[in-house]
C-alpha cells in the first residue's frame, strides 16, 4: 500500500508529512488532537542519517508539544549493511533513537507503531518495537535476517532454512507469529481512522510504562517460557 494512501486512510482530517529520502516526519489531525507522525518508508535501510533524523524529530516534539502522541510508520529492511556506517558505531545511533522513543514514553507521550510493509531486525528494534503498542498491516514482512546471510552464520543449508521458515512460528517470518509471541497487538486488514482513534484512546487509558509483552506472549500461547523464567528470578515480595 502506498504511503500516501495509508496517511489518507489514517488521517482523513488532514496531515502534513514531509519525506526526506526515506524518512517520514510530520503532524496529523485526529479527533483526539494533533499527533506526531514519523518513521520510514520504501524498505529503508536504517543508517545514521535516518536514525538521527527520527531522534531529532522526537526530541523536538517532546520539547515543544507535551504529551503529543507519536504514531510510528514502520517500513525498514533492517540496518544499513556498510562498513562506513559501522565505523561510526551504527549500534550507537540506533540505541540513541531507541532511548529517545523511551524518553517520550516516560514524559507522558503515548506511542504506537504500524508496520506498513517490512519490519526487520535492527531497524525494527530501534524504534518500531520500542513503542507502547505495535500493529501491522496484512501481508507485511516481519523478520530478523535475510535467509542467505542466516545460512552463512548458522552453517545450516539455505534450503533447510526455507523449509523451516514455511512452518515454524518461532522462526518463520510473519506478523501473525509476532502477535502470538506478544510483540504485535493485531494484524489489520486495512488502516483506518477508527482503528487509530480506538488504539490511541486505549493507550491513554492504561499505564504503559510496564513492558507487557511477556505477559501477552504467555496468555496468547506463543511464548510460554519467558514469563515464568523472568518471574522465577524476581524475589517474592517481602523476601
Amino acid at each position: 500500500m502506498m504511503l500516501e494512501t495509508i496517511l489518507d486512510e489514517l488521517f482523513p482530517d488532514g496531515h502534513s508529512v514531509r519525506l526526506a529520502g526515506k524518512t517520514i516526519t510530520g503532524e496529523a489531525a485526529t479527533p483526539l488532537g494533533t499527533v506526531a507522525v514519523l518513521g520510514t518508508t520504501d524498505a529503508a535501510a536504517m543508517d545514521h542519517v535516518i536514525a538521527l533524523g527520527l531522534s531529532a524529530f522526537i526530541l523536538e516534539t517532546v520539547a515543544h508539544h507535551p504529551e503529543r502522541p507519536f504514531v510510528y510508520l514502520v517500513d525498514t529492511s533492517g540496518q544499513a549493511l556498510s562498513r562506513s556506517e559501522e565505523l561510526l558505531c551504527l549500534n550507537g545511533s540506533l540505541a540513541h533513537l531507541a532511548e529517545c522513543v523511551d524518553l517520550a514514553r516516560r514524559r507522558g507521550h503515548p506511542s504506537l507503531s504500524l508496520v506498513t510493509a517490512n519490519a526487520v531486525s535492527g531497524g525494527f528494534l530501534s524504534y518500531g518495537l520500542m513503542a507502547d503498542r505495535v500493529f501491522a498491516l496484512n501481508d507485511t514482512q516481519v523478520r530478523v535476517m535475510d535467509l542467505r546471510a542466516m545460512s552463512r552464520v548458522t552453517k545450516i543449508e539455505h534450503e533447510r532454512l526455507v523449509e523451516l521458515a514455511g512452518h515454524s512460528p518461532i522462526f518463520a517470518p510473519g506478523a501473525e507469529n509476532y502477535v502470538q509471541m506478544g510483540a504485535v497487538e493485531a494484524v489489520l486488514g486495512l488502516p483506518s481512522a477508527d482503528w487509530l482513534v480506538g488504539a490511541l484512546t486505549a493507550l491513554k487509558q492504561e499505564a504503559v510504562l510496564r513492558d507487557h509483552r511477556m505477559e501477552s506472549g504467555f496468555s496468547r500461547g506463543g511464548r510460554l517460557l519467558a514469563k515464568p523464567i523472568a518471574l522465577s528470578i524476581q524475589p517474592a515480595p517481602g523476601t
Partner: protein, 222 residues
Amino acid sequence: MGGAVGEIHGAKIVGLLRRALLEEPRAVLFLIDSGGVRLHEANAGLIAISEIMRAVLEVRAGGIPVLALVGGSCGAFGGMGIVAKLCSAVLISEEGRLALSGPEVIETVAGVEEFDSKDRALVWRVTGGKHRYLMGDCAELVEDDVASFREAAVACVTAVTHDVSTLESLQARQHRLEQRIERFAGFNDGLDVWRSLGIEQPESVPMLDRGATVALKGRMEA
C-alpha cells in the same frame, strides 16, 4: 552458540534487571559476549532483545547505573550491540568488539569489497575496542583480564552517581552525533578517522598498548 540470545536467555536477563529494580544495588554490571539474536529462534530472540532494551532503560530510569563490560571473543554485536549502547557506559578491552552487523553478514550481502571479514586487522580498525574508545563510544579501555575489568568497573561505579537520561542530555548527545556523521561522512577505515582526529601516525595505533592508547586519547582531548 556465540552468546546468542533466544527466548530463555532473554527472559533470564530481563528477570535479573527487574530484580535489580527491587533490590536497588549501586549498579548493575552487564557482561556482554554475544553475536546478537539467536537465529534458530529468530522471532523470539528479536523480541527478547527488545525486552532487554526496555529493561535496561527501566533500571537506569530508576537511578541505577548499568555498566556494559565487553571483553569476550564474540564482542557485542547485533541487538546486543544496541543493548550495550543503551547502558550508562561501556567498558571494553582492545580485543573486544562492538558493532551492529557482523563483518561476515556485511560481506555475504554487500560483497567482499565492502567488508573483507577475513581481514582481522581491518575488522578491528572498524569495530575494535581501541577504535570505539578513541571515538568516545566506549568510556573505558581496559586490559584484557578479569582483574582489570573488575578494577575499572569499581572505579566507574564510584564515578557514575547520577545517570538518568533527560531531554537535555539526549539533546546534547543528538548534537554530538550529528556533528560526527557530518565530519566523518564517507570514511570507511579507522586509519582515516584517526588521522583526521589529529593522530600523527595512525598506522601505529593498532600496535599501542592500553596505557599508550589512554595517554593518546588524553592528549587528543587536552
